[in-house]
Amino acid sequence: MRWGREKIETILPHREPFLFIDEVIEIDGTKKVIASKNIKDNEFFFEGHFPGRPIMPGVLIIEAMAQASIILYFICKQEIAKTNPNYYLGKVKAEFLLPVFPGDKLILETNNVKIIDEAAVIDALARVGDRIVAKANFVLGIKKSE
């Protein structure tokens, strides 16, 4: 099963230029989601990070993994997710292993450690091809919209 932007935009509140998921490429029940993002030459952040030497900022790799984590939450808790709650990052432990450049296809894997109505613990990794570029453990909070 693959999900494109149309479906993804019904799940994530993010929009361009801050939507970091192009496609959901694999869903393993409520255990795992794999998504992807093509890192284009003209991404807004390359203009300043860094002029003439474009590298994707690590915090945005975290953001991409976090957005993939929200999709995993959606799969586990559809009734709540369909009410458009607010998602926020409570805690992140991250490790950056390799740089990400224009033209790379970022693969974002998220694994369900524990997901309950109001919170989620998710292990994620980002890779380009077979090379792992970053790993993270997220604690996400979910609050109903006011």
């Binding site: 409570g90 805690k91 450690v113 524990k114 309950i116 109505d117 109001e118 919170a119 989620a120 613990v121 604690v139 909070g141």
Partner: protein, 80 residues
């Protein structure tokens, strides 16, 4: 009734909620007395599930509110 498991539980919880072990009284309420919120609570649950390879169902989480209840709840699950 101090024992190794009680000490293990206190150490694990202490690391997550950043409260010294000596301040973790068995009946201190996580939410009212120790400032635990839903994010810290899920971290505690995930840590116990990982360390002892147990499953704590979501419906049971609100009923585990102090160190004593964690010990009573998890001890039979982990087979000790």
């Amino acid at each position: 009734m101090k024992n190794n498991y009680e000490e293990e539980v206190k150490t694990l919880v202490s690391e997550i909620i950043e409260v010294p072990v000596e301040k973790l009284m068995p009946d201190a309420d996580f939410f009212k007395d120790l400032g635990v919120d839903s994010l810290k609570a899920i971290e505690i649950v995930a840590a116990f599930e990982k360390k002892y390879r147990i499953i704590i169902p979501e419906k049971d989480i609100p009923n585990i509110r102090n160190i004593r209840q964690i010990i009573e709840y998890t001890r039979p699950l982990k087979g000790h």
